[in-house]
């Protein structure tokens, strides 16, 4: 067992881990933050996407030890109280979620796209979401939501 310290959604936390412990296990099992999901075991589905030092990564494909000393943002860290982050609000407005399971990863991934491109085309969004699988929505409304969310994020700056 080793101890890691990191910042999660602005709060300093620490956890006892094994070498093999994954970042997502620290979030879900040690810190009780179950908003980050695990949908596959081959690093394909993207349900587990969080931000580490500002970049989207698959928390199922990163050792917890690698996250020592980093700043992690999860889906739980986006809203300001009851006020949704613009990307979250866009997903609600455009019905970009159904069962909600892929949603945290989708939103976290989309936010990085929006930071890089404040006005992504449909093509841009579809390409960017290569690492996020949704089985419910057919992506149609996710694409609309991400485009609207990116514009809203730019407008809120």
């Amino acid at each position: 067992m080793a101890k890691i310290s990191l910042t999660v959604n602005g709060k300093k936390v620490s956890a006892e881990i094994e070498g093999r412990t994954l970042l997502v296990q620290v979030l879900r099992e040690k810190l009780g933050m179950t908003g980050t999901h695990v949908g596959c075991d081959t690093s394909q589905c993207g349900a587990c996407v969080v931000h580490v030092d500002g970049k989207s990564v698959k928390s199922c494909t990163m050792l917890a030890a690698q996250a020592d000393g980093t700043a992690v943002t999860t889906i739980e860290g986006l809203a300001n109280g009851n006020e949704l982050h613009p990307m979250q609000a866009a997903f609600k407005e455009h019905h970009g979620l159904q069962c909600g399971f892929c949603t945290p990863g989708m939103v976290m991934s989309a936010i990085e796209l929006a930071k890089r491109n404040s006005n992504p085309s449909e093509h841009d969004v579809r390409e960017w979401l290569e690492g996020n699988i949704c089985r419910c929505t057919g992506y149609h409304n996710i694409v609309k939501a991400v485009q609207a969310g990116a514009q809203a994020m730019a407008a809120a700056k």
């Binding site: 179950t34 999901h37 596959c40 349900a47 019905h95 996020n132 694409v143």
Partner: protein, 790 residues
């Protein structure tokens, strides 16, 4: 209409928790002192269990217990039951082999659970599982449907590989019609095996309270009451009164979370043995080999036509794969949800279908989004295109010539169903307009100039959902009723909780049902909560599948609301000192007709619970009503899907460049949610047509056992969709609703394949089996590999 009532595109009430990471999925639930179960699964498709030595595993770090099938057998635990009995042509019952929770003596498919290691942590359980000494003696396996019925094929069960040999329709009438046929269109086709793959893997947590004797199972289920009934009554012998099943937020189901699974029974059984809560969550790799899979038919069909292109008769012969064991509703899918739909939207007067269900050494097969109806629609819409080609007729014209006329409803088909309403001309026109069908040839020509092959394909379909009238289902072999239950609880201050027996795992029930209540009671959505998924809260329910939640569950809500309003009117009449017959209820107010005397809904609710001035002699206090609704008929959504594809002949890649769906789903309560349901269904249908395929090798090893090899449609595989509705009302439920959950997955696969075949018409292609992968298309274009196409 209330602002947020029927017809409003209300944003979903449930979204806040999902968007902020506060959903409560089964794997999010951790119980104090819980232990973790790891299932050791067969790696061979068919083998005799020679020996299982658990001693080393039991001694490993953190291990709490190790169980095998023998332990469960010693406890007289029952097998996993099948909920539907199909009879053979001669009236004898189907072969119904035992399905042990953990395999005993034999394993019959890759993934069949052999033993379970329970440990303090999952990692310890997995570490210890490697110390199990399991000796299996391989037996020859049978994988393919056709192979399984050959003489000398390895027998999956002692009774052989035929589960049942069933039929429907009038064989003599069909034979007579074929004698008079001007032309006969024929097709051999495969409906490819699929894996549902909801994004949330299955999970279960079992718990036992020694003080009360109550068991609790948290599980990823579409129907917790059904699980309670099946598991309690048939497997673990626990009375419902001491068994609570909770299906909390569930991350998609698509059918695969209807069934009662081994893991649910195991964790519930093991919890009191160990004296601690037992948790299991599937890794995706386990989902691939333990979730019930879908489709998997091999069919031959012939359609007889007269010289005008009118359909005279259809005969169909289908082999359907059951997998190694009967999943909960497996026998119903290729029979009553498939062959009864073979009339489609057409007036074909004579139909005969025979279906043989077959056991193989593969994962069990059961309903997957559409369940039987996509298989029927694919067969019909493919053979209609082939018939058009044989007749030299236009594909639109042949369909219109055979559509059930709009004034012919209710329409009795020759395969048992009576369609109540529909307008197939309207939905076809809607889809043709949306995709600019008239302009297609110009687009085809433009594509040709840049070396691409364009094609367009139509599918006009009908399906049956709103499952189901219990008496009919019972006569057809269902071992359960298929009504739905709603309990509307008005609280003293006028807010309302609905307890529904349906279950939302993406469908947005918390919003749609609230809209029904807002519409009827004239209260705001923020005054309404919808509770589902907990057998201790909800009186009863059959759950959500078969697009039944609004047509059946929603009608139960309406019936319960009827009772609420009836009682509230009595209370209002008392308070307003008027005759009950004179009380009108509108926009949340009870008014004495023709006066300005009124009471608000909230005042009535308060009076019901604070009955100081109340007709206590004739009326009970309280305002809490339950209704069970048993539907009078199935509902029959239908529509037209048109797909336009462009093929790159150099690589064989098929790109869906446009897709229009115009569906008749009955009355639309929330158009935003309805469109979303169609989008999702289309993605799964296009996935089936172009990408998805569950592949086993000839030894029964699963070759498509992860997202690395099973092609899930991704955002860049799909276009945006043109979705619209052209509705007719259902005539036998008060809302006029039909259902929308499955239409996208039912109508779209033949539209895609018809488009692909159209794009390749210069290559002499009549049919391509799904999925139409780049390799298959390239083989056709390349001319070398005719096995890919007829």
């Amino acid at each position: 209409m209330a602002i947020d009532g029927i017809g409003a595109a209300v944003r979903r009430k449930e979204d806040y928790r999902f968007l902020t990471g506060q959903g409560n999925y089964t794997d999010d639930i951790s119980r104090p002192n819980q232990v973790h179960a790891y299932f050791v699964r067969a790696q061979a498709a068919h083998a005799k269990i020679v020996r299982i030595d658990t001693a080393k595993a039991k001694a490993a770090d953190g291990v709490v217990a190790v169980f095998t099938g023998a332990d469960m057998a010693a406890d007289a635990i029952g097998g996993l039951p099948c909920g539907w009995l199909v009879k053979n042509k001669d009236g004898s019952p189907m072969q119904e082999p035992a399905h042990p929770v953990l395999a005993v003596e034999r394993v019959r498919h890759v993934g069949d659970p052999i033993a379970v290691v329970v440990a303090e942590t999952l990692a310890q359980a997995k570490d210890a599982a490697e110390l199990l000494d399991i000796e299996l003696a391989d037996l020859p396996a049978v994988v393919g449907l056709v192979d399984a019925l050959k003489p000398g094929a390895p027998a999956v069960h002692a009774g052989g590989n035929l589960c049942f040999d069933w039929h429907i329709g009038d064989a003599d009438q069909v034979a007579a019609a074929f004698k008079n046929a001007y032309k006969v269109a024929k097709i051999d086709l495969v409906n490819n095996r699929l894996i549902a793959n909801p994004m949330e893997p299955r999970a279960a947590v079992g718990e036992y309270d020694r003080a009360t004797g109550e068991y609790t199972l948290f599980t990823t289920s579409q129907n917790p009451h059904v699980i309670r009934l099946l598991m309690g009554a048939f497997v673990l012998h626990i009375p419902e009164s001491r068994l609570r099943v909770v299906a909390p937020d569930v991350g998609g189901g698509f059918g695969s979370k209807i069934y009662h699974y081994a893991e649910e029974a195991f964790v519930t059984w093991a919890a009191p043995k160990i004296g601690r809560p037992v948790k299991w969550t599937a890794e995706r790799g386990e989902s691939f080999m333990s979730d019930a899979q879908g489709r998997d038919h091999v069919s031959h069909a012939e359609l007889a036509l007269d010289k005008n292109g009118k359909f005279l008769a259809l005969k169909v012969s289908t082999l359907s794969n059951m997998g190694a064991y009967l999943s909960t509703f497996a026998p119903a899918i290729p029979t009553y949800l498939y062959a009864t739909l073979l009339a489609g939207v057409y007036t074909t007067p004579a139909i005969y279908a025979e279906v043989k269900a077959v056991f193989t050494n593969t994962v069990p097969v059961d309903a997957y989004r559409g369940a039987g109806r996509p298989e029927a629609a694919f067969l019909i819409e493919r053979i209609v295109d082939i018939a058009a080609a044989e007749m030299g007729m236009d594909r639109v014209e042949i369909r219109k010539r055979n559509f059930i006329p709009t004034d012919a409803f209710p329409y009795q088909t020759p395969v048992a169903l009576q369609y109540d309403s529909g307008d197939y001309f309207a939905t076809l026109a809607g889809a043709m307009n949306a995709i600019d069908y008239a302009g297609f040839e110009a687009r085809r020509a433009a594509a040709k100039k840049v070396g691409k092959l364009r094609g367009i394909g139509i599918s006009t379909y009908v399906e049956a959902c709103g499952i189901a009238p219990s008496n009919i289902a019972g006569a057809l072999g269902a071992r359960a009723g298929l009504y739905e239950c709603a309990n509307v609880r008005v609280h003293p201050t006028g807010s309302v909780t609905l307890f529904t027996g349906c279950h939302s795992h993406g469908q947005g029930h918390e919003t749609t049902y609230a809209q029904l209540i807002a519409e009827r009671l004239g209260i705001g959505l923020d005054q309404i909560e919808v509770s589902h998924g907990d057998t201790n809260k909800i009186p009863f329910g059959m759950g959500t599948y078969g697009s039944r939640s609004l047509a059946v569950g929603g009608t139960a809500v309406v019936k319960a609301l009827d009772k609420i309003v009836d009682k509230a009117k009595k209370i209002a009449a008392h308070l307003l000192e008027a005759a009950e017959a004179d009380i009108e209820f509108k926009d949340g107010k009870f008014t004495v007709a023709g006066t300005d005397k009124s009471k608000s809904f909230g005042e009535i609710a308060l009076t019901a619970y604070v009955p100081h001035n109340y007709p206590l002699e004739t009326l009970e206090p309280g305002l809490d009503e339950t209704a069970f609704y048993d539907p009078k008929n199935f509902t029959f959504p239908g529509g037209a899907h048109i797909c336009e594809v462009e093929i790159d002949p150099d690589t064989g890649v098929v790109k869906v460049v446009d897709f229009a769906a115009c569906d008749d789903v009955g009355r639309v309560v929330n158009p935003m949610i309805v469109e979303g349901q169609v989008h999702g269904g289309l993605a799964q249908g296009i996935g089936q047509a172009l990408m998805e395929e569950c592949v086993y090798d000839d030894k029964g090893q699963l070759r498509s056992g992860s997202f690395m090899d099973y092609t899930m449609p991704r955002a860049d595989d799909l276009p945006s969709f043109k979705v619209s509705t052209a509705i007719t009302l259902c005539t036998h439920n008060p809302l006029g609703v039909k259902g929308v959950g499955e239409v996208g997955a039912i109508g779209s696969p033949p539209a895609v394949i018809n488009a692909v075949v159209d794009a390749l018409k210069d290559y002499g292609v009549r049919h391509i089996d799904m999925p139409a992968t780049p390799q298959k298309i390239w083989a056709i274009v390349n001319g070398g590999h005719r096995m890919a196409a007829e």
